[in-house]
Symmetry: C2
Subunit: 216 residues, 2 copies
């Protein structure tokens, strides 16, 4: 398999974690989001939405990280990243969706760029925007982890919820969001990050990582 992604893209990071936890070997092709490489016609032929990630399998090109991760779970069921019961799966998927629908998409690069270019947002406006949506989402997640969490975000085994949570915490730290109000999120992220397959998915350990990249 070949993962089209970008080291610092948190949606690519999610998929790398799931691939690594499943023990799947894959190649990586990088698309530099800063230079707009993902907007090329070549990449559009792979993914009409021209976003990363995309996963090339032997028979298809899969897009959208939530769909890719569900596909990985179905085709490579061990180790499971969803609980065995339907209610547990619904809770894990809800935790993932809080991040995947209501935090990440409103804070990603295309949105922040547009706030600046079209609405005249400055650095302080953009920072406040990011803090707002991470804060609202993390407040809900902290309560959900309090209700359902254990060593990990849901129970004592890694799940899809952790695959979303750790990259979102990475993003929050990059944007210097204060996380002291979210001790359970912090603990779950730290516990998960310590697993070797998860650690290997960290942005800084990818072949396209740019040590000189600015913090923004």
């Amino acid at each position: 398999m070949t993962l089209h992604g970008y080291w610092r893209s948190t949606t690519s990071y999610r998929v790398r974690i799931a691939l690594n936890l499943k023990g799947i070997r894959y190649d990586q092709v990088t698309h530099d989001l800063r230079s707009g490489a993902h907007r090329s016609d070549d990449y559009r032929r792979l993914n009409p939405q021209r976003l990363v990630p995309a996963l090339e399998t032997e028979t298809s090109v899969l897009v959208q990280s939530p769909a890719i991760i569900e596909w990985l779970e179905e085709t490579h069921p061990a180790p499971p990243l969803l609980p065995a019961d339907a209610e547990g799966r619904a809770i894990v998927r809800a935790m993932a969706a809080v991040i995947g629908c209501d935090i990440h998409p409103v804070n990603n690069m295309r949105i922040l760029s547009r706030l600046r270019t079209d609405l005249g947002a400055g650095d302080a406006d953009v920072a406040a925007w990011i803090v707002q949506w991470i804060g609202e989402g993390f407040e809900a997640l902290e309560a959900m982890i309090a209700g359902y969490g254990g060593m990990h975000a849901f129970g004592d085994s890694p799940t899809i919820a952790d695959c979303y949570l750790l990259p979102q915490v990475y993003s929050a730290e990059r944007f210097k969001v204060d996380l002291t109000a979210f001790p359970l999120i912090r603990a779950a992220a730290d516990c998960f990050a310590a697993l070797p397959p998860v650690a290997a998915a960290h942005p800084n350990r990818q072949p396209d990582a740019d040590a000189d990249a600015d913090a923004a």
Copy 2:
């Protein structure tokens, strides 16, 4: 079951469609998003994220429409709303995620309100914002339907992709977005909307529908 929602919320509309297609009877409790009823402490006890929809089952409260719809598919498998093969399911889920992650969340009420209050966006700015994200997402979806669609968005049977698509088309029409560039989306939405269980889920047919509500 009891669905907590709001007639014009497109995420509630998605869940109503899935419930109706599955032939599940449910009660509805409305939370008026315009007056902020969903931000109450009472509702927070049901859903810490204080967003609609939430589905009360006999044993739990499920939140986040993607998680609720997957739960419905798992617990009420007939009629199926996902294809039988993993690759087909990944494509359907990707179509849903284009809307559920990359169109709806960046255009929902909390985001548009904040554009106005914090960034001084006017009506024209907000309209351009909406057109931008619906346009980018629909461009990708139009290509995906061209590749995989039939009578419906994916093949010739209703899927989860249609449950997301029709409410998003309803929202686009409400915001007066020109859809002439998306004939396949239009055709899929029209075909799906004609199914009686789908028609019964339309916002205007809900008990809390407000015929005097403004177009915005």
